[in-house]
């Protein structure tokens, strides 16, 4: 099924995998984004994910539907987490199943690339040495200025 969610709850990867798969599918691709322990060699202890939740839900749903159309498969599921995550926790999970492998890889890759371009979500890293900082991000599509 085409499914997506933006949630403060921990991500259950096994459950996500059960949302895809079909007797016609020979391939499943899963991608997990995980909080890691360093950034440019600076030790990291955790990450706050803040989101514009209502819009993020709509954007993620749109991205997954676009991926489904490109892949010719309606078995694509994605979930993005918000809140404070520890190192090793899953921040985003994407699963896609398709008859052949190229489309499954492409669909999972498309969703994560578009998430990074368009999802209104921001991360603040907590450092071992001191404090926390909002990470640089990407300017999503249209800008407006003076």
């Amino acid at each position: 099924m085409i499914w997506s969610e933006v949630t403060a709850d921990p991500i259950d990867t096994s459950r996500l995998l059960t949302r895809v798969g079909d007797p016609q599918d020979g391939a499943v691709a899963l991608f997990l984004g995980i909080v890691r322990d360093h950034n440019d060699s600076r030790p990291v202890t955790g990450m706050d994910y803040e989101g514009y939740a209502e819009m993020a839900r709509e954007q993620l749903s749109t991205i997954v539907r676009e991926a489904a159309e490109r892949a010719g498969s309606d078995r694509i599921a994605a979930v993005h987490r918000l809140g404070t995550l520890a190192v090793g926790e899953v921040s985003v999970a994407i699963a896609a199943s398709t008859p052949h492998r190229a489309e499954a890889f492409d669909a999972a890759r498309y969703v994560i690339e578009e998430v990074k371009k368009r999802l209104p979500v921001w991360k603040r890293e907590h450092y071992l040495d001191s404090g926390a900082e909002w990470l640089d991000g990407r300017i999503p599509v249209a800008q407006c200025g003076k």
């Binding site: 514009y52 819009m55 990074k116 368009r118 921001w122 599509v141 800008q143 200025g145």
Partner: protein, 81 residues
């Protein structure tokens, strides 16, 4: 007319607020709204001159015309995933 402005992440830290209501003339654009916010001075003036925005959950641009009750979000550079 009144529009609601939402601020997130670094923008919220600058403004010291996560939302505000702004009164604008009819048919005001997103650019006019941003100008008005920055003219408040203090942390508001430090908001970037060029910021992405979403109107009612959709990405918009400076020329987008606003309407009564719109929800306008200033969107700092995104960093999901």
């Amino acid at each position: 007319m009144d529009v609601t402005v939402l601020l997130f992440a670094a923008h919220r830290d600058l403004a010291g607020s996560d939302n505000t209501v702004v009164s604008l003339p009819e048919n005001a654009t997103v650019s006019a709204l941003l100008e008005k916010l920055r003219c408040r001075g203090g942390g508001w003036a430090a908001l970037p001159e060029r910021a992405a925005v979403a109107v009612n959950h959709r990405y918009a641009n400076g020329t987008t015309v606003l309407a009564e009750g719109d929800e306008v979000a200033l969107i700092p550079p995104v960093a999901g995933g």
